[in-house]
Homo-oligomer: 239 residues x 2
């Protein structure tokens, strides 16, 4: 039986409202998965992903990067509420770290078995969290931007990195992919990138239409990337 | 119980010596996997891969592209025996097709469920087979070259394509990857490319040392790519 809970916590003076999903029938300590939302804030889509993770036996916690009540309903609102976090990566890292601590300190979560996944903007969040040197076993970016002002911080990365990428994502162009591969390679990070032909931005989000640029749902790429994430978790945490 | 057999067949006037591996306990028709060897010819490495596929319940057949007894023991011999097939892709397609027909016509193989996998030079073989319009449900290239003189033939591809690539493979440089992605994209092929950080050429072949350029064994990339192949087969053939 999957249970979900709203969880209020703080980062400095900012009140955040995260979201738990877990299987209450699970006994003992379980791996914990931090989930980082898209640029519209913590909404139903990432909550549904948390429930899917809980059904797989993980304790999932959706971070609230923007703070309680900061949720966008339109494209301009998305731009407005996310802009400070694209720009100030230290702020983003701090918000992610605050959520990570909530997850780490939950009884029933195995602190040594924590991964973070993020969608679009959330891909930035989990990669910056890794670059900050946070103790995560692995991070997964779904159609996330890959560039960073902190290229030298890749040496801090402790865990493994999996990037799940739409091959014709105009938001994450080839030059950005190439720079990321160089960044990861130079720092000798354990990384992989799976690129899906025909997939554009936000290819995992079933709320989008199935055609169009720059963002569209792609069912094949969604299923394949979810499978790749499961394989990655199996490698990190055991079968 | 896995059984193996040498199988002599012809392509035109050329005698070829292929290799079967299958589980004799399997009942009914099973998916068939064509296996294309590296530039040294059909040797123990691809035979071992055939046995691994048989253990997974597939009927595996290693094609003999170069012909009976044409097996290289040294780097110059590899170059010598493979050169005609790098150059004359129609010849390579013909050899691959001859082997495919052997696999298709075996009782116990489900003709509608055939895939082809290839290693290094064998990656070229399976991609050219696909470009020829052969009825394969999917092809998998492990650290194979991706360029072709026949870019317009991608429109003939009937199945899905999975490329498993070493991110720093000097034999398959970024420009070749980019051209391949364009080729596949222009022809609207269902394709994926999984790139493994730190992996060079021939990363799956356990006979190589684990460090060095241009080719070295990389256990992580080997296991991850084998897993990706299994996921691909599950998608093609069912669980």
């Amino acid at each position: 039986m999957i249970k979900t809970e709203i969880h209020e916590y703080r980062h400095g003076d900012t009140v955040c409202e995260g979201y738990w999903a877990y299987d209450e029938a699970q006994k003992g300590k379980r791996p914990g998965i931090l989930v980082a939302h898209e640029w519209n804030g913590l909404q139903d889509y990432v909550k549904a992903r948390c429930k899917m993770l809980a059904e797989m036996g993980y304790v999932a916690f959706a971070a609230d990067i923007f703070g309680k009540g900061i949720r966008a309903k339109s494209f301009p609102e998305c731009e407005q509420i996310s802009a400070p976090y694209y720009k100030d990566r230290q702020l983003t890292r701090g918000r992610a770290q605050a959520a990570l601590e909530i997850l780490q300190n939950r009884p029933g979560v195995d602190k040594a078995k924590i991964a973070a996944i993020g969608y679009c903007f959330g891909g930035i969040v989990v990669l910056e969290l890794a670059r900050s040197g946070a103790p995560v076993a692995g991070v997964v970016s779904f159609h996330g931007q890959l560039s960073t002002p902190n290229v030298n911080d890749a040496k801090n990365i402790k865990g493994k990195v999996l990037v799940l990428h739409g091959a014709i994502d105009p938001v994450v162009p080839p030059a950005e992919v190439a720079a990321f591969e160089k960044e990861m390679g130079d720092a000798k990070v354990d990384w992989q990138l799976h690129s899906y032909g025909g997939a554009v931005h936000t290819f995992t989000n079933w709320n989008l239409p199935t055609t169009g640029m720059p963002a569209a749902y792609n069912e094949k790429a969604d299923k394949r990337s979810w499978q790749s994430m499961q394989n990655f978790f199996a490698e990190l945490f055991g079968g």
